[in-house]
Each structure stands twice: as structure tokens, then as C-alpha cells.
């Protein structure tokens, strides 16, 4: 299945943050996002209305012909969750680099030191990765890692279990052990709006079981984490994600990233990718 980059759904704003018409970029093209009373809309540079979907607290659009519905996250719909509109962070990097970093756990002890990881607990145990042909998604399961403070609600270190899901080329979902509710998964997402191939607007969003933290505390925890990620993302060379082997050296801990790159190449999603080793 190969489709144009224009035929995917992309996030363009928080529903709670859209009011007066706002100019932004999507895949290098000018678009305008706005709201008239309770109706949200997106127009392209020529003023043509683009299709929209309201989901996960965000407004989504598709500049081409949407081939199917935007993915769903059924786990996020269960009652009692706090839905956290984190806001956005602009990052000077490829949208694909931003997603790949979100899929990576080996950096926790060094980038999110004493929060999501800490030396000497650096080992990444073997986990499972598969490209699910039916759903056209990449999944990593049975990912386990020691974390000093896995979430705002976590006290003391625990071994956290994760599942990672790449639901579309620029959107990933993380399912994570939920400290207050064993047996349930906290849902943390990274929705990336590609402004162009080397610049993106990143919209993290969360659906958590957390009765203790305030909304402001949960937002600020996630913003701290992403600011730390940004210091990495804006300093990788090359800026675009290399899809061909040879330019970068992966290890077993990078199985998710290897599958993500392979899948991007397979579906022909090369916007923000570097194809020939430079």
C-alpha cells in the first residue's frame, strides 16, 4: 500500500487552543486553522476547505485525499482518565527524527537523568517488534526498563513495562505501566505536525490514571521531558532521518527504530528522510 504524504491525517492544533484564525505550515505549505462558533476549520493557501477530524483533544487535517479514518486509541476512552492537553513544542528537526526519539528507551539514563532512567540501570533487555501488516502499524511489546521516577505519580524506582505503537508515520503511542492501577496502561502520545522536512510542531497528549497530580503538574512534567529531548533532536547530523543502512550504527536496543525506518521505506514515506548516505 503506497500513498502520497498528503493523504495522511496530521495534527494542526489543540481544540482547546484554537480560536482566531491562525496561519501555520503543513508539509511545507501554508494553511490556516480557525474556529467559527463551534465549527473548526482548516483551509489551504488557496482558501479551499480541507477535511477535518476532532480526536484526542486535537484538530486533524489531511491536505490530500484521506484513504481511511484517523487511527483510534480505544484504551484512552476508558473512564476515570485525566486527558492532558500538553500543548506544542516547535523543534528544528525532521518529523521522523522526533518520532524515532519517542520510540527509544536507551537514552533515558543520559537525557532524562534521574527521572526516566539513571546509571547504572542502562541495560535494554530484548523485546519484541513487529510490523503489523493488517493495521499497517509498527509495534514494540514487552519493553522493560528501570525508572527512578516513571511518572508524576510514581514514588521511588520501579521497573516499568511499555508498549510502543507507530500508528501513522508521524504519530506514535506509548502504553506504559500505570503505578496507581496495576493492570491498566497509561497512554502517552506524540503527534507530530510536519511544518517542513526539517522543522516540526510536536503535540504530546496523555490519557493517564492519576488522581493526585494537578493538570498543571502533569503538563509541566511532560514539558520538562520533551525539552530534554529537544536538546538532542536539534543536534543530530544529518537533520533528516537516514533510512539507508550504513550511515548510522544500530544495536539490538534499537529494534524499534530499525523497524520504523524499514516500515517508512516500505510504505514510501520519505518526507523528512535522507535516502542516500551522504
Amino acid at each position: 500500500m503506497s500513498r502520497s504524504i498528503n493523504d495522511y491525517w496530521y495534527p494542526v492544533g489543540l481544540l482547546s487552543g484554537i480560536d482566531a484564525p491562525h496561519a501555520t505550515l503543513l508539509l511545507g505549505a501554508d494553511i490556516t486553522v480557525g474556529r467559527t462558533h463551534s465549527a473548526y476549520w482548516v483551509t489551504d493557501a488557496a482558501g479551499k476547505a480541507l477535511p477535518t477530524i476532532k480526536r484526542f483533544g486535537h484538530l486533524w487535517t489531511c491536505p490530500g485525499t484521506p484513504m481511511d479514518d484517523l487511527f483510534t486509541i480505544p484504551e484512552a476512552d476508558t473512564a476515570g482518565r485525566q486527558l492532558v492537553d500538553v500543548g506544542s513544542v516547535r523543534v528544528k528537526c525532521s518529523p521522523l527524527r522526533a518520532v524515532e526519539n519517542f520510540l527509544d528507551i536507551a537514552h533515558f539514563p543520559f537525557v532524562h537523568t534521574d527521572i526516566l532512567g539513571a546509571e547504572p540501570h542502562t541495560e535494554v533487555a530484548r523485546y519484541n517488534v513487529d510490523i503489523r501488516e493488517d493495521a499497517n502499524e509498527v509495534w514494540a511489546t514487552k519493553v522493560k526498563f528501570f525508572q527512578p521516577q516513571a511518572a508524576k505519580s510514581a514514588e521511588g524506582g520501579i521497573t516499568t513495562e511499555y508498549m510502543y505503537r507507530v500508528a501513522s508515520p508521524t504519530c506514535a503511542v506509548l502504553y506504559k505501566t500505570c503505578p496507581p492501577r496495576p493492570g491498566e496502561w497509561d497512554v502517552i502520545t506524540l503527534f507530530v505536525q510536519p511544518l517542513n522536512e526539517e522543522w516540526c510542531e510536536v503535540w504530546p497528549w496523555m490519557a493517564l490514571y492519576d488522581d493526585d497530580s494537578t493538570m498543571a503538574e502533569m503538563v509541566s512534567f511532560q514539558q520538562l521531558i520533551f525539552m530534554q529531548d529537544r536538546s538532542i533532536l536539534e543536534n543530530q547530523i544529518p537533520t533528516k532521518l537516514p533510512l539507508d543502512p550504513g550511515m548510522e550504527v544500530p544495536t539490538q536496543a534499537d529494534l524499534t527504530s530499525i523497524a520504523y525506518r524499514r516500515w517508512l521505506k516500505k510504505i514510501g514515506y520519505t518526507y523528512g528522510a535522507q535516502l542516500v548516505a551522504a
Binding site: 536507551a106 537514552h107 539514563p109 543520559f110 537525557v111 546509571e119 542502562t122 541495560e123 535494554v124 536538546s231 538532542i232 543536534n235 543530530q236 547530523i237 544529518p238 537516514p242 550511515m247 548510522e248 550504527v249 544500530p250 544495536t251 539490538q252 536496543a253
Partner: protein
């Protein structure tokens, strides 16, 4: 240019790493705990992260992204995600020749038999950035183009020129040992302003 000055030793103390650029090549210049200087390509082979954001422990430099650790020869000696793995010899950082002379760090991007340029009996004053190409700088100073420009004058100034890009240089300045450091520094800033303003 065979050897290019990339900084004063005092600006890169032990256990630090800094970014530098020579003719558009990004470098990580670092000083080990024992005081040994190294000039490497500013890129971890794993995921392309700049090594100049990394950290020095003992005689090794580690990447800040995943902690991959490289010894003084540039060979990867540790991958923290796999503590029991001996990294393959093929994983290494790009290394460049690096020498210390006259309190200055010198780098050669290409292998060379040439000697490191002499700065005479001068002492290091400071580094300063100039928004001019190395060629334009030499022309405006009415001096031959080269790794070291000797201006002389009351302070007996010499400039080691680091061509960073096609439009920018970093100058490493030296003066007679009896000259007041602050006075020379101010003179250099005036000179820089004049050179940048000259059409």
C-alpha cells in the same frame, strides 16, 4: 593550511568538550582528565548526535544521547544499553591529528608532515569571532593568507586564523608577554569592528 588553531588550551580545561568548525567540518575538541587533547568529528556514529554535547570521564568521551563511550583512540569501548557486549572495532569516532603548542590547540584535517606554526615568544590573549572569510580577513589586513598572521605593532600581535565557514573565522590572538591582557583584548575588538565594517 596544514595546521589550524582551534582554541586556547585554557578555554578547554580538563574534562570538557567544545564544538569547533574548520572549513565547514564540525569538530568536537575535548580534554581528558589527564589533560590530553583530542579533535574528533562532531558526530556519534550511532544516531548522529553531536559529540560536543557529550561528557568526559577519565580518558574517554561519551555521547550524551545513549552514553556510547569512546577511548583516546576514538574506538567505542562501551554501549550502556548492552553492558556485557564488547563493541565491534568498526565503531569509532572520526579522528583528526591534534597537537598542543604555545598554549594553543592545533588540528590538521588532512594527514601532514608539516610543522605546527610558530608564534614566537608571545603569550595567548584570547579567541574572538570575526564575520569574514579567512581570505577577506588577510586582504583587509594587507597580509599574506596563512594559518598565522603577524601584525606586530605596539602589542606585537599575532593571529592564528581558524576558517570556520566560508563567511566566518575564529581568531586566536597572541601578544608580547609584557603587554596588558585587557588592553590587547580591547585593541583586538576595535580591530575586529574595523575589519568587519570595511567594505
Amino acid at each position: 593550511m596544514d595546521w589550524v588553531a582551534v582554541g586556547l588550551c585554557e578555554d578547554v580545561p580538563a574534562r570538557t568538550v567544545v564544538p569547533r568548525r574548520v572549513q565547514n567540518t564540525d569538530l568536537a575538541i575535548w580534554c581528558s582528565t589527564a589533560g590530553v587533547f583530542h579533535a574528533w568529528g562532531d558526530r556519534c556514529p550511532h544516531r548522529g548526535m553531536r559529540l560536543s554535547h557529550g561528557f568526559v570521564r577519565g580518558e574517554t568521551l561519551s555521547c550524551i544521547y545513549h552514553g556510547w563511550t569512546y577511548d583516546g583512540d576514538g574506538a567505542c569501548v562501551s554501549i550502556p544499553a548492552h553492558p556485557d557486549l564488547t563493541p565491534p572495532k568498526s565503531i569509532c569516532a572520526a579522528q583528526y591529528a591534534c597537537r598542543v603548542q604555545d598554549g594553543t590547540i592545533w588540528v590538521a584535517l588532512q594527514p601532514t608532515q608539516a610543522a605546527v606554526p610558530e608564534l614566537g615568544a608571545r603569550r595567548a590573549i584570547r579567541s574572538l569571532a570575526v564575520q569574514l572569510s579567512a581570505e577577506t580577513l588577510a586582504t583587509r589586513l594587507k597580509q599574506p593568507f596563512g594559518p598565522v598572521i603577524t601584525l606586530g605593532g605596539a602589542h606585537d600581535i599575532a593571529l592564528a586564523v581558524q576558517p570556520s565557514t566560508d563567511t566566518d573565522c575564529l581568531l586566536h590572538a597572541f601578544a608580547a608577554p609584557d603587554q596588558d591582557r585587557k588592553a590587547v583584548s580591547l585593541a583586538l575588538e576595535h580591530l575586529r569592528d574595523e575589519l568587519e565594517a570595511a567594505a
